[in-house]
Subunit: 232 residues, 2 copies
DNA sequence: CAGTCGTTTTGCGTTGCATCAATGCGCGTC
DNA sequence: GACGCGCATTGATGCAACGCAAAACGACTG
Protein backbone atom coordinates (compact mmCIF):
# COMPACT_ATOMS: atom_id res chain seq x y z
CA UNK A 1 0.00 0.00 0.00
CA UNK A 2 1.35 3.35 -1.01
CA UNK A 3 1.97 6.13 1.41
CA UNK A 4 0.89 9.59 0.32
CA UNK A 5 2.07 12.03 2.93
CA UNK A 6 0.26 15.02 1.39
CA UNK A 7 -3.23 13.59 1.23
CA UNK A 8 -4.56 14.40 4.67
CA UNK A 9 -2.84 17.75 4.53
CA UNK A 10 -4.65 18.50 1.27
CA UNK A 11 -7.97 17.63 2.78
CA UNK A 12 -7.59 20.36 5.37
CA UNK A 13 -6.91 23.25 3.00
CA UNK A 14 -9.44 25.88 1.97
CA UNK A 15 -9.21 24.82 -1.65
CA UNK A 16 -9.38 21.05 -1.31
CA UNK A 17 -11.57 20.32 1.71
CA UNK A 18 -14.36 17.90 0.95
CA UNK A 19 -12.60 16.54 -2.11
CA UNK A 20 -13.00 12.81 -2.79
CA UNK A 21 -9.89 10.68 -2.20
CA UNK A 22 -9.43 9.73 -5.83
CA UNK A 23 -9.36 13.42 -6.75
CA UNK A 24 -6.71 14.00 -4.11
CA UNK A 25 -4.57 11.27 -5.63
CA UNK A 26 -4.90 12.82 -9.08
CA UNK A 27 -3.98 16.18 -7.62
CA UNK A 28 -0.97 14.69 -5.94
CA UNK A 29 0.18 13.03 -9.11
CA UNK A 30 -0.07 16.26 -11.07
CA UNK A 31 1.47 18.50 -8.44
CA UNK A 32 4.79 20.26 -8.81
CA UNK A 33 6.88 21.06 -5.76
CA UNK A 34 8.66 24.27 -5.01
CA UNK A 35 10.88 25.41 -2.15
CA UNK A 36 11.70 29.02 -1.46
CA UNK A 37 14.11 30.64 0.97
CA UNK A 38 13.03 33.80 2.80
CA UNK A 39 13.28 36.65 0.32
CA UNK A 40 12.91 34.52 -2.81
CA UNK A 41 10.34 35.58 -5.36
CA UNK A 42 7.66 33.12 -6.47
CA UNK A 43 6.47 35.23 -9.38
CA UNK A 44 6.44 38.85 -10.40
CA UNK A 45 3.65 41.26 -11.15
CA UNK A 46 2.87 41.07 -14.85
CA UNK A 47 4.18 37.52 -15.29
CA UNK A 48 1.98 35.15 -17.23
CA UNK A 49 0.00 32.89 -14.93
CA UNK A 50 1.40 29.41 -15.23
CA UNK A 51 0.60 27.75 -11.93
CA UNK A 52 -1.51 28.07 -8.84
CA UNK A 53 0.29 27.33 -5.58
CA UNK A 54 -0.79 25.86 -2.31
CA UNK A 55 1.31 26.82 0.69
CA UNK A 56 2.34 23.76 2.69
CA UNK A 57 4.67 25.50 5.09
CA UNK A 58 6.12 28.97 5.53
CA UNK A 59 4.71 32.37 4.72
CA UNK A 60 4.51 34.53 1.60
CA UNK A 61 3.64 38.12 0.89
CA UNK A 62 1.56 39.31 -2.07
CA UNK A 63 2.32 42.90 -2.99
CA UNK A 64 1.54 45.31 -5.75
CA UNK A 65 3.77 48.04 -7.15
CA UNK A 66 2.61 51.49 -8.21
CA UNK A 67 4.46 53.26 -11.01
CA UNK A 68 6.09 55.65 -8.55
CA UNK A 69 7.98 52.77 -6.94
CA UNK A 70 5.67 52.69 -3.95
CA UNK A 71 4.08 49.39 -3.17
CA UNK A 72 1.29 48.02 -1.06
CA UNK A 73 0.94 44.64 0.56
CA UNK A 74 -2.18 42.86 -0.58
CA UNK A 75 -1.98 40.08 1.97
CA UNK A 76 0.17 37.52 3.73
CA UNK A 77 -0.36 33.92 2.72
CA UNK A 78 0.12 31.11 5.21
CA UNK A 79 -0.06 27.30 5.28
CA UNK A 80 -3.18 25.85 3.70
CA UNK A 81 -3.80 29.01 1.69
CA UNK A 82 -3.51 29.59 -2.00
CA UNK A 83 -1.00 31.87 -3.76
CA UNK A 84 -1.45 33.18 -7.26
CA UNK A 85 -5.24 33.16 -7.54
CA UNK A 86 -5.00 34.69 -10.98
CA UNK A 87 -3.81 31.28 -12.21
CA UNK A 88 -7.34 30.00 -11.82
CA UNK A 89 -7.79 31.71 -15.16
CA UNK A 90 -5.65 30.56 -18.06
CA UNK A 91 -3.58 33.04 -20.06
CA UNK A 92 -3.85 35.83 -17.60
CA UNK A 93 -1.15 37.84 -15.85
CA UNK A 94 -0.40 38.05 -12.16
CA UNK A 95 -1.66 41.32 -10.68
CA UNK A 96 1.01 41.30 -7.99
CA UNK A 97 4.35 39.94 -6.88
CA UNK A 98 4.57 37.11 -4.38
CA UNK A 99 7.67 36.86 -2.17
CA UNK A 100 8.57 34.41 0.58
CA UNK A 101 8.99 36.10 3.96
CA UNK A 102 10.00 32.84 5.60
CA UNK A 103 11.46 29.68 4.14
CA UNK A 104 8.49 28.10 2.42
CA UNK A 105 7.32 24.91 0.83
CA UNK A 106 4.71 25.02 -1.91
CA UNK A 107 2.84 22.73 -4.23
CA UNK A 108 1.73 23.93 -7.64
CA UNK A 109 -0.62 22.95 -10.45
CA UNK A 110 -0.66 24.42 -13.91
CA UNK A 111 -3.71 26.43 -14.92
CA UNK A 112 -4.57 23.88 -17.60
CA UNK A 113 -4.49 20.90 -15.28
CA UNK A 114 -6.37 22.85 -12.66
CA UNK A 115 -9.11 23.56 -15.14
CA UNK A 116 -9.40 19.90 -16.00
CA UNK A 117 -9.53 18.99 -12.35
CA UNK A 118 -12.24 21.55 -11.64
CA UNK A 119 -14.28 20.22 -14.54
CA UNK A 120 -13.97 16.70 -13.27
CA UNK A 121 -14.43 17.56 -9.58
CA UNK A 122 -16.74 20.56 -9.25
CA UNK A 123 -16.27 20.60 -5.46
CA UNK A 124 -12.88 22.13 -6.04
CA UNK A 125 -14.30 24.85 -8.28
CA UNK A 126 -16.95 25.53 -5.66
CA UNK A 127 -14.29 25.74 -2.97
CA UNK A 128 -12.42 28.17 -5.19
CA UNK A 129 -15.54 30.27 -5.54
CA UNK A 130 -15.97 30.37 -1.76
CA UNK A 131 -12.31 31.24 -1.25
CA UNK A 132 -12.44 34.06 -3.76
CA UNK A 133 -15.64 35.41 -2.22
CA UNK A 134 -13.80 35.61 1.09
CA UNK A 135 -10.82 37.37 -0.44
CA UNK A 136 -13.09 39.74 -2.30
CA UNK A 137 -14.97 40.51 0.88
CA UNK A 138 -11.68 41.07 2.73
CA UNK A 139 -10.64 43.59 0.12
CA UNK A 140 -13.95 45.42 0.34
CA UNK A 141 -13.43 45.87 4.03
CA UNK A 142 -9.89 47.10 3.60
CA UNK A 143 -10.98 49.49 0.89
CA UNK A 144 -13.62 50.88 3.21
CA UNK A 145 -11.12 51.22 6.02
CA UNK A 146 -8.51 53.01 3.99
CA UNK A 147 -11.18 55.31 2.54
CA UNK A 148 -12.96 56.23 5.74
CA UNK A 149 -10.81 55.56 8.79
CA UNK A 150 -7.78 57.34 10.06
CA UNK A 151 -4.37 55.81 10.28
CA UNK A 152 -4.38 54.83 13.95
CA UNK A 153 -7.51 52.72 13.63
CA UNK A 154 -6.34 51.16 10.41
CA UNK A 155 -3.11 50.05 12.01
CA UNK A 156 -5.15 48.62 14.85
CA UNK A 157 -7.42 46.65 12.56
CA UNK A 158 -4.50 45.43 10.51
CA UNK A 159 -2.64 44.13 13.55
CA UNK A 160 -5.76 42.44 14.88
CA UNK A 161 -6.35 40.76 11.53
CA UNK A 162 -2.76 39.59 11.33
CA UNK A 163 -2.92 38.28 14.88
CA UNK A 164 -6.12 36.44 14.08
CA UNK A 165 -4.75 35.02 10.87
CA UNK A 166 -1.35 34.00 12.16
CA UNK A 167 -0.88 34.94 15.75
CA UNK A 168 0.89 32.71 18.23
CA UNK A 169 0.16 32.74 21.94
CA UNK A 170 3.17 33.66 24.03
CA UNK A 171 3.73 34.64 27.65
CA UNK A 172 3.57 38.33 26.77
CA UNK A 173 0.57 38.14 24.45
CA UNK A 174 -0.23 37.28 20.87
CA UNK A 175 2.79 37.44 18.64
CA UNK A 176 2.64 37.95 14.89
CA UNK A 177 4.28 34.77 13.68
CA UNK A 178 6.50 36.21 10.96
CA UNK A 179 8.90 39.13 10.54
CA UNK A 180 6.94 42.35 10.12
CA UNK A 181 8.77 45.67 9.86
CA UNK A 182 7.34 49.16 10.25
CA UNK A 183 7.60 49.54 6.52
CA UNK A 184 5.64 46.32 5.96
CA UNK A 185 2.91 47.52 8.28
CA UNK A 186 2.86 50.89 6.54
CA UNK A 187 2.44 49.18 3.18
CA UNK A 188 -0.46 47.14 4.48
CA UNK A 189 -2.17 50.15 5.99
CA UNK A 190 -1.52 52.72 3.31
CA UNK A 191 0.67 55.14 5.23
CA UNK A 192 4.36 55.81 5.87
CA UNK A 193 6.70 53.93 8.14
CA UNK A 194 7.22 57.15 10.12
CA UNK A 195 3.60 57.40 11.05
CA UNK A 196 3.47 53.72 11.96
CA UNK A 197 6.52 54.11 14.15
CA UNK A 198 5.02 57.05 16.02
CA UNK A 199 1.72 55.35 16.67
CA UNK A 200 3.23 52.04 17.69
CA UNK A 201 5.62 53.87 20.02
CA UNK A 202 2.69 55.43 21.83
CA UNK A 203 1.04 52.02 22.16
CA UNK A 204 4.27 50.59 23.45
CA UNK A 205 4.38 53.21 26.23
CA UNK A 206 0.84 52.27 27.15
CA UNK A 207 1.76 48.59 27.29
CA UNK A 208 -0.68 47.67 24.53
CA UNK A 209 1.95 46.22 22.25
CA UNK A 210 5.54 45.18 22.57
CA UNK A 211 7.65 45.35 19.46
CA UNK A 212 11.20 45.34 18.25
CA UNK A 213 13.08 44.59 15.08
CA UNK A 214 10.45 43.24 12.72
CA UNK A 215 8.58 41.71 15.65
CA UNK A 216 5.19 42.68 17.02
CA UNK A 217 3.43 41.26 20.07
CA UNK A 218 -0.07 42.35 21.02
CA UNK A 219 -0.06 42.47 24.82
CA UNK A 220 -3.57 43.85 25.23
CA UNK A 221 -5.58 42.87 22.17
CA UNK A 222 -8.81 44.11 23.72
CA UNK A 223 -7.32 47.56 24.28
CA UNK A 224 -6.28 47.55 20.65
CA UNK A 225 -9.77 46.49 19.60
CA UNK A 226 -11.15 49.36 21.65
CA UNK A 227 -8.96 51.82 19.77
CA UNK A 228 -9.84 50.26 16.44
CA UNK A 229 -13.58 50.16 17.04
CA UNK A 230 -14.39 52.96 19.47
CA UNK A 231 -17.42 55.03 18.59
CA UNK A 232 -16.35 58.13 16.68
CA UNK B 1 -41.68 24.57 -29.80
CA UNK B 2 -41.33 26.75 -26.77
CA UNK B 3 -39.89 30.20 -26.91
CA UNK B 4 -37.41 31.10 -24.22
CA UNK B 5 -36.60 34.77 -24.56
CA UNK B 6 -33.84 34.75 -21.96
CA UNK B 7 -31.70 31.98 -23.35
CA UNK B 8 -29.51 33.87 -25.80
CA UNK B 9 -29.26 36.69 -23.32
CA UNK B 10 -27.99 34.25 -20.68
CA UNK B 11 -25.38 32.92 -23.04
CA UNK B 12 -23.78 36.35 -23.31
CA UNK B 13 -23.32 37.03 -19.59
CA UNK B 14 -20.05 36.71 -17.71
CA UNK B 15 -21.50 33.98 -15.51
CA UNK B 16 -23.22 31.81 -18.07
CA UNK B 17 -21.20 32.05 -21.26
CA UNK B 18 -20.23 28.69 -22.69
CA UNK B 19 -23.00 26.92 -20.78
CA UNK B 20 -24.72 24.03 -22.60
CA UNK B 21 -28.33 24.69 -23.76
CA UNK B 22 -29.89 22.16 -21.41
CA UNK B 23 -28.23 23.89 -18.46
CA UNK B 24 -29.64 27.20 -19.64
CA UNK B 25 -33.12 25.72 -19.70
CA UNK B 26 -32.71 24.41 -16.16
CA UNK B 27 -31.46 27.82 -15.08
CA UNK B 28 -34.42 29.48 -16.70
CA UNK B 29 -36.85 27.15 -15.03
CA UNK B 30 -35.35 27.81 -11.61
CA UNK B 31 -35.00 31.53 -12.00
CA UNK B 32 -36.92 34.10 -10.03
CA UNK B 33 -37.65 37.50 -11.47
CA UNK B 34 -37.34 40.83 -9.77
CA UNK B 35 -38.05 44.38 -10.86
CA UNK B 36 -36.72 47.43 -9.04
CA UNK B 37 -37.43 51.12 -9.47
CA UNK B 38 -34.56 53.59 -9.17
CA UNK B 39 -33.79 53.95 -5.49
CA UNK B 40 -35.16 50.57 -4.43
CA UNK B 41 -32.97 48.33 -2.32
CA UNK B 42 -32.23 44.80 -3.49
CA UNK B 43 -30.71 43.69 -0.19
CA UNK B 44 -29.00 45.26 2.78
CA UNK B 45 -25.59 44.84 4.28
CA UNK B 46 -25.74 42.08 6.87
CA UNK B 47 -28.74 40.32 5.32
CA UNK B 48 -28.50 36.58 4.95
CA UNK B 49 -27.58 35.58 1.41
CA UNK B 50 -30.59 33.99 -0.18
CA UNK B 51 -30.16 34.59 -3.89
CA UNK B 52 -27.64 35.56 -6.49
CA UNK B 53 -28.90 38.02 -9.10
CA UNK B 54 -28.11 38.55 -12.74
CA UNK B 55 -28.79 42.03 -14.07
CA UNK B 56 -30.85 41.93 -17.26
CA UNK B 57 -31.41 45.64 -17.61
CA UNK B 58 -30.75 48.75 -15.55
CA UNK B 59 -27.98 49.61 -13.16
CA UNK B 60 -27.30 48.92 -9.47
CA UNK B 61 -24.86 50.21 -6.92
CA UNK B 62 -23.09 48.07 -4.33
CA UNK B 63 -22.03 50.07 -1.29
CA UNK B 64 -20.68 49.45 2.16
CA UNK B 65 -21.39 51.43 5.31
CA UNK B 66 -18.85 52.29 7.97
CA UNK B 67 -20.01 52.62 11.58
CA UNK B 68 -19.69 56.41 11.43
CA UNK B 69 -22.44 56.58 8.84
CA UNK B 70 -19.98 57.15 6.04
CA UNK B 71 -20.20 54.79 3.12
CA UNK B 72 -18.17 53.81 0.12
CA UNK B 73 -19.31 52.57 -3.24
CA UNK B 74 -17.84 49.18 -4.06
CA UNK B 75 -18.95 49.15 -7.67
CA UNK B 76 -21.73 49.79 -10.15
CA UNK B 77 -23.32 46.71 -11.65
CA UNK B 78 -24.71 46.77 -15.18
CA UNK B 79 -26.50 44.41 -17.57
CA UNK B 80 -24.96 40.96 -17.84
CA UNK B 81 -23.19 41.33 -14.51
CA UNK B 82 -23.86 39.61 -11.24
CA UNK B 83 -25.11 41.21 -8.03
CA UNK B 84 -24.74 39.65 -4.61
CA UNK B 85 -21.64 37.53 -5.15
CA UNK B 86 -21.72 36.48 -1.53
CA UNK B 87 -24.71 34.30 -2.39
CA UNK B 88 -22.37 31.92 -4.15
CA UNK B 89 -21.76 30.71 -0.63
CA UNK B 90 -24.69 29.36 1.34
CA UNK B 91 -25.52 30.73 4.79
CA UNK B 92 -23.35 33.77 4.50
CA UNK B 93 -24.24 37.44 4.89
CA UNK B 94 -24.05 40.18 2.32
CA UNK B 95 -21.02 42.41 2.91
CA UNK B 96 -22.76 45.40 1.36
CA UNK B 97 -26.02 46.97 0.33
CA UNK B 98 -27.19 46.89 -3.29
CA UNK B 99 -29.47 49.65 -4.53
CA UNK B 100 -30.94 50.32 -7.97
CA UNK B 101 -29.76 53.61 -9.46
CA UNK B 102 -31.97 53.15 -12.52
CA UNK B 103 -35.10 51.09 -13.00
CA UNK B 104 -33.78 47.56 -13.22
CA UNK B 105 -34.77 44.06 -14.14
CA UNK B 106 -33.05 41.12 -12.48
CA UNK B 107 -33.13 37.36 -12.42
CA UNK B 108 -32.24 35.45 -9.28
CA UNK B 109 -31.33 31.96 -8.16
CA UNK B 110 -31.21 30.72 -4.61
CA UNK B 111 -27.82 29.76 -3.21
CA UNK B 112 -28.93 26.16 -2.85
CA UNK B 113 -30.10 25.79 -6.42
CA UNK B 114 -27.02 27.58 -7.62
CA UNK B 115 -24.85 25.10 -5.82
CA UNK B 116 -26.65 22.20 -7.41
CA UNK B 117 -26.31 23.80 -10.81
CA UNK B 118 -22.60 24.39 -10.33
CA UNK B 119 -22.13 20.78 -9.30
CA UNK B 120 -23.96 19.56 -12.35
CA UNK B 121 -22.42 22.07 -14.76
CA UNK B 122 -18.89 22.91 -13.65
CA UNK B 123 -18.51 25.46 -16.47
CA UNK B 124 -20.65 27.79 -14.44
CA UNK B 125 -18.53 27.36 -11.35
CA UNK B 126 -15.44 27.99 -13.47
CA UNK B 127 -17.02 31.11 -14.91
CA UNK B 128 -17.78 32.21 -11.37
CA UNK B 129 -14.15 31.67 -10.44
CA UNK B 130 -13.01 33.80 -13.37
CA UNK B 131 -15.51 36.52 -12.53
CA UNK B 132 -14.45 36.63 -8.91
CA UNK B 133 -10.79 36.75 -9.91
CA UNK B 134 -11.56 39.81 -12.00
CA UNK B 135 -13.44 41.50 -9.17
CA UNK B 136 -10.67 40.63 -6.72
CA UNK B 137 -8.10 42.06 -9.08
CA UNK B 138 -10.19 45.22 -9.55
CA UNK B 139 -10.27 45.70 -5.80
CA UNK B 140 -6.52 45.23 -5.50
CA UNK B 141 -5.99 48.03 -7.98
CA UNK B 142 -8.41 50.33 -6.21
CA UNK B 143 -6.78 49.57 -2.88
CA UNK B 144 -3.42 50.46 -4.35
CA UNK B 145 -4.78 53.66 -5.82
CA UNK B 146 -6.42 54.86 -2.66
CA UNK B 147 -3.30 53.99 -0.67
CA UNK B 148 -0.70 55.58 -2.91
CA UNK B 149 -2.26 58.14 -5.23
CA UNK B 150 -3.66 61.54 -4.50
CA UNK B 151 -7.22 62.50 -4.99
CA UNK B 152 -7.00 64.16 -8.40
CA UNK B 153 -5.53 61.08 -10.06
CA UNK B 154 -7.94 58.76 -8.30
CA UNK B 155 -10.90 60.73 -9.58
CA UNK B 156 -9.39 60.55 -13.05
CA UNK B 157 -8.95 56.79 -12.91
CA UNK B 158 -12.41 56.31 -11.51
CA UNK B 159 -14.06 58.34 -14.27
CA UNK B 160 -12.08 56.53 -16.94
CA UNK B 161 -13.10 53.17 -15.51
CA UNK B 162 -16.74 54.18 -15.34
CA UNK B 163 -16.60 55.47 -18.90
CA UNK B 164 -15.04 52.23 -20.04
CA UNK B 165 -17.53 50.12 -18.15
CA UNK B 166 -20.66 52.02 -19.10
CA UNK B 167 -19.85 55.06 -21.18
CA UNK B 168 -22.02 56.12 -24.10
CA UNK B 169 -20.67 58.05 -27.08
CA UNK B 170 -22.31 61.44 -27.52
CA UNK B 171 -21.55 64.51 -29.59
CA UNK B 172 -19.70 66.13 -26.71
CA UNK B 173 -17.74 63.06 -25.63
CA UNK B 174 -18.20 59.93 -23.57
CA UNK B 175 -21.07 60.21 -21.15
CA UNK B 176 -21.40 58.14 -17.99
CA UNK B 177 -24.67 56.32 -18.67
CA UNK B 178 -26.27 56.67 -15.26
CA UNK B 179 -26.84 59.41 -12.68
CA UNK B 180 -23.62 60.10 -10.79
CA UNK B 181 -23.47 62.87 -8.22
CA UNK B 182 -20.39 64.49 -6.70
CA UNK B 183 -21.16 62.58 -3.55
CA UNK B 184 -21.29 59.29 -5.44
CA UNK B 185 -17.95 60.02 -7.05
CA UNK B 186 -16.50 60.97 -3.69
CA UNK B 187 -17.68 57.68 -2.22
CA UNK B 188 -16.07 55.73 -5.03
CA UNK B 189 -12.79 57.59 -4.72
CA UNK B 190 -12.53 57.84 -0.96
CA UNK B 191 -12.72 61.59 -0.52
CA UNK B 192 -15.32 64.29 0.14
CA UNK B 193 -17.81 65.77 -2.26
CA UNK B 194 -16.18 69.17 -1.73
CA UNK B 195 -12.86 68.01 -3.04
CA UNK B 196 -14.51 66.28 -5.99
CA UNK B 197 -16.44 69.42 -6.83
CA UNK B 198 -13.32 71.56 -6.78
CA UNK B 199 -11.30 69.25 -8.98
CA UNK B 200 -14.07 68.65 -11.47
CA UNK B 201 -14.69 72.39 -11.66
CA UNK B 202 -11.08 72.94 -12.70
CA UNK B 203 -11.40 70.23 -15.35
CA UNK B 204 -14.58 71.82 -16.56
CA UNK B 205 -12.78 75.14 -17.09
CA UNK B 206 -10.13 73.34 -19.07
CA UNK B 207 -12.76 71.67 -21.23
CA UNK B 208 -11.75 68.18 -20.16
CA UNK B 209 -15.15 67.27 -18.78
CA UNK B 210 -18.61 68.68 -18.93
CA UNK B 211 -20.88 67.98 -16.01
CA UNK B 212 -24.06 69.06 -14.36
CA UNK B 213 -26.57 67.65 -11.98
CA UNK B 214 -25.58 64.02 -11.54
CA UNK B 215 -24.26 63.92 -15.10
CA UNK B 216 -20.67 63.61 -16.24
CA UNK B 217 -19.35 63.69 -19.80
CA UNK B 218 -15.69 63.13 -20.58
CA UNK B 219 -14.91 65.53 -23.42
CA UNK B 220 -11.17 64.82 -23.59
CA UNK B 221 -10.60 61.32 -22.25
CA UNK B 222 -6.96 61.34 -23.33
CA UNK B 223 -6.31 64.54 -21.36
CA UNK B 224 -7.87 62.85 -18.36
CA UNK B 225 -5.74 59.78 -18.90
CA UNK B 226 -2.69 62.04 -19.00
CA UNK B 227 -3.62 63.51 -15.62
CA UNK B 228 -4.32 60.08 -14.18
CA UNK B 229 -1.13 58.45 -15.43
CA UNK B 230 1.44 61.21 -15.79
CA UNK B 231 4.88 60.39 -14.44
CA UNK B 232 5.25 61.61 -10.87
C1' DC C 1 -45.41 80.73 -9.38
C1' DA C 2 -43.90 80.31 -4.85
C1' DG C 3 -41.87 76.94 -1.98
C1' DT C 4 -38.99 73.13 -0.97
C1' DC C 5 -35.50 69.92 -1.40
C1' DG C 6 -31.35 67.98 -3.28
C1' DT C 7 -27.13 69.17 -5.71
C1' DT C 8 -23.25 71.94 -6.56
C1' DT C 9 -20.11 75.68 -5.82
C1' DT C 10 -16.88 78.41 -3.26
C1' DG C 11 -14.42 80.63 0.60
C1' DC C 12 -11.83 79.86 4.65
C1' DG C 13 -9.88 77.93 8.85
C1' DT C 14 -8.14 73.58 10.49
C1' DT C 15 -5.51 69.36 10.70
C1' DG C 16 -3.79 64.78 9.92
C1' DC C 17 -0.28 63.03 7.84
C1' DA C 18 3.52 63.09 4.52
C1' DT C 19 8.04 64.50 3.90
C1' DC C 20 12.73 65.61 5.05
C1' DA C 21 16.54 65.12 8.06
C1' DA C 22 19.18 63.59 11.80
C1' DT C 23 20.16 60.18 15.23
C1' DG C 24 20.21 55.82 17.63
C1' DC C 25 20.13 50.91 17.89
C1' DG C 26 20.83 45.95 16.96
C1' DC C 27 22.77 42.46 14.14
C1' DG C 28 25.74 40.21 10.97
C1' DT C 29 30.36 40.32 8.90
C1' DC C 30 35.16 40.88 7.91
C1' DG D 1 36.12 44.84 18.04
C1' DA D 2 35.18 47.97 14.42
C1' DC D 3 32.57 48.64 10.58
C1' DG D 4 28.46 48.88 7.75
C1' DC D 5 23.77 48.04 6.87
C1' DG D 6 18.98 47.75 7.74
C1' DC D 7 15.57 49.02 10.94
C1' DA D 8 13.50 52.20 14.22
C1' DT D 9 12.82 56.69 16.53
C1' DT D 10 11.90 61.58 16.85
C1' DG D 11 11.60 66.48 15.70
C1' DA D 12 10.53 70.18 12.52
C1' DT D 13 7.99 71.81 8.62
C1' DG D 14 4.64 72.03 4.84
C1' DC D 15 0.74 70.92 2.35
C1' DA D 16 -3.18 68.33 0.52
C1' DA D 17 -7.37 67.54 1.78
C1' DC D 18 -11.02 67.81 5.27
C1' DG D 19 -14.97 70.00 7.26
C1' DC D 20 -17.93 73.80 8.05
C1' DA D 21 -20.85 77.37 6.43
C1' DA D 22 -23.31 79.96 3.28
C1' DA D 23 -25.06 80.81 -1.01
C1' DA D 24 -26.40 79.77 -5.78
C1' DC D 25 -28.65 76.75 -8.77
C1' DG D 26 -31.73 73.84 -10.80
C1' DA D 27 -35.71 70.50 -10.61
C1' DC D 28 -39.85 68.90 -8.93
C1' DT D 29 -44.45 69.78 -6.38
C1' DG D 30 -48.65 71.54 -4.93
Amino acid sequence: MDYYPDLDLFARTELLQGTPPDALRVLQAWAGRRRLAAGDILFQQGDRTTSLFLVIAGRLRASQMAQGGQQIIIRYIGPGEVAGCAAFVENDTHPGTVTAVDDSHLIGWTSASLRQIMERYPVIAINAVALLCRRYHEMQIRLREVSTERVERRIGHTLLRLAHQSGGRTARGIEIAFPLSRRDLAEMVGTTLYTVSRIVSVWEERGIVSSGRRRVVLCKPHALAAIADEEE
